[in-house]
């Protein structure tokens, strides 16, 4: 199994487990602390996570869109270089070129890259994306 598929399966596994736990513990301070700490510890080294609090990794081929210097969350800008590198950082592959390539390899979420992502809520920066996401689904 390739890396992207492995990440995707891990995401699905966590989703299952946490969907049971977060509705019960989601608003407890120690649990919040635990989630923020583990998200930071795992997602930072793996994806360059910046703790925006609204994780959409599974919709972007497991490439963090916050690594884009313009923090674009809905696809590449028009400035991508002809070699696929970033307009602003010429030595870096464009985040969205990677996201597009990777998302085609995903089993479940390959079409999610087409979805419109809402405006980022900057007030959630530094909080747990899992709690925000599952908590929100539970509220609505």
């Amino acid at each position: 199994m390739n890396k992207i598929r492995a990440f995707e399966s891990t995401y699905l596994f966590c989703l299952k487990i946490l969907s049971g736990i977060i509705p019960v513990l989601g608003n407890k301070r120690p649990f919040m602390w635990f989630m923020v700490t583990s998200e930071k510890a795992l997602k930072k080294p793996l994806f360059g996570c910046q703790m925006c609090g609204q994780c959409i990794l599974h919709s972007t081929g497991m490439v963090c869109p916050m690594g884009c210097p313009k923090t674009l969350r809905n696809g590449p800008c028009g400035g991508v270089r002809s070699n696929g590198n970033c307009e602003i950082k010429p030595d870096m592959k464009c985040v969205w070129v990677r996201a597009w390539d990777n998302s085609t390899q995903m089993a479940v979420f390959s079409d999610s890259i087409k979805e419109i992502q809402p405006q980022l809520d900057h007030s959630l920066s530094g909080t747990s994306a899992w709690i925000n996401d599952i908590g929100k689904k539970n509220d609505s």
Binding site: G75, G84, E87, L120
Partner: protein, 310 residues
């Protein structure tokens, strides 16, 4: 009863009339005159004029002030909004202000990074991206409300557009991105400079396939190259513009003095090649600091106002 089109641009595109738009180079001037003169050179040949938003991350004449001056002179503006300098508060405030002075066409772009311009030490905003810029303005338009839910006294009836760049990677994604922007509220599209006809055709095929042959109105971006040297500079230094080597070579064949003319001719050839393609609703001419060339291109391609409506 179908609602009245909100602008002349909307009327033309909704009725499938071939449309020509052009970009005016905003002068570094503190007088209205410089802008009016340039816009008046374009006006006889196009249906609406794009006003950029400090393009290339270089401060230029304010887009809203420029729009107001064009409107005073009976010229229809397409005002560009980028995500680089305004957060969602400023965007919404400017949109309703622009509407009040008569702006109807708003064109949403991501915007170049500050590193591209002459103030690389500036703080880039990018609170929104081009898609959420569209959803934000579309929210004002369709609900008459700010994002916060606070209500306006009426809904600003706007015609929204967006950019598409079929000429840079990821190529496969570009048509999907156009459709995402369409879903987010964009009614018409203008492309980045087209120098690569084959690349454009493959993009168009994909778009036609995805939309069952009925894509939203798409205007092809074109422009003349002043010289082979300028073309190379453009390719190396302006992000998102790809000038294929064969186009440059065609211009390079001529001595320096004649290259300007060859550049206009190359542009005319491109317009002739794309104007009749299914799915092309018009052209968008960007002649940076060279407004005079627009009349030549439009006339030579048989796209002058009376001719093209016959």
């Amino acid at each position: 009863m179908t609602p009245k089109p909100v602008s002349d641009l909307a009327r033309r595109l909704e009725h499938g009339l071939f449309t020509v738009t052009a970009e005016v180079t905003l002068p570094d001037s503190i007088e209205k005159k410089a802008l009016v003169e340039r816009a008046q050179m374009l006006e006889p040949y196009c249906d609406a004029i794009n006003i950029t938003d400090s393009t290339g991350a270089v401060p230029h004449f304010s887009n809203i002030a420029a729009a107001s001056i064009l409107i005073e002179n009976d010229i229809e503006p397409i005002i560009q909004f980028s995500c680089r300098d305004r957060n969602r508060i400023a965007v919404q405030a400017d949109v309703i202000g622009a509407y009040a002075i008569g702006v109807r066409n708003i064109f949403c772009v991501t915007g170049d990074g500050v590193q591209t311009g002459d103030h690389p030490e500036a703080k880039p905003v990018f609170d929104l991206d081009s898609v959420t810029l569209l959803t934000t303005i579309n929210h004002l338009k369709t609900r008459g409300k700010f994002l916060s839910g606070r209500e306006l006294d009426d809904k600003p009836n706007l015609y929204l557009g967006a950019a598409v760049n079929p000429f840079v990677p990821p190529f496969e994604e570009r048509a999907l991105r156009l459709l995402k922007k369409h879903k987010a509220g964009a009614s018409f599209f203008q492309t980045q400079y087209c120098f690569d006809i084959e690349r454009f055709k493959s993009f168009l095929d994909r778009l036609l396939g995805l939309t069952k042959g009925a894509p939203p109105p798409l205007l092809v971006g074109v422009g003349p190259l002043r010289s082979a040297r300028f073309a190379r500079w453009l390719r190396e230094n302006v992000p998102g513009i790809d000038v294929p080597e064969h186009v440059i070579e065609k211009i390079e064949k001529y001595p320096r003095k004649e290259q300007q003319k060859a550049g206009v001719e190359a542009c005319i050839e491109i317009v002739d090649a794309v104007k009749t393609l299914t799915g092309v609703a018009g052209i968008h001419v960007m002649a940076y600091n060279w407004e005079a060339s627009v009349s030549e291109i439009v006339k030579a391609t048989g796209l002058s106002k009376p001719e093209r409506d016959n």
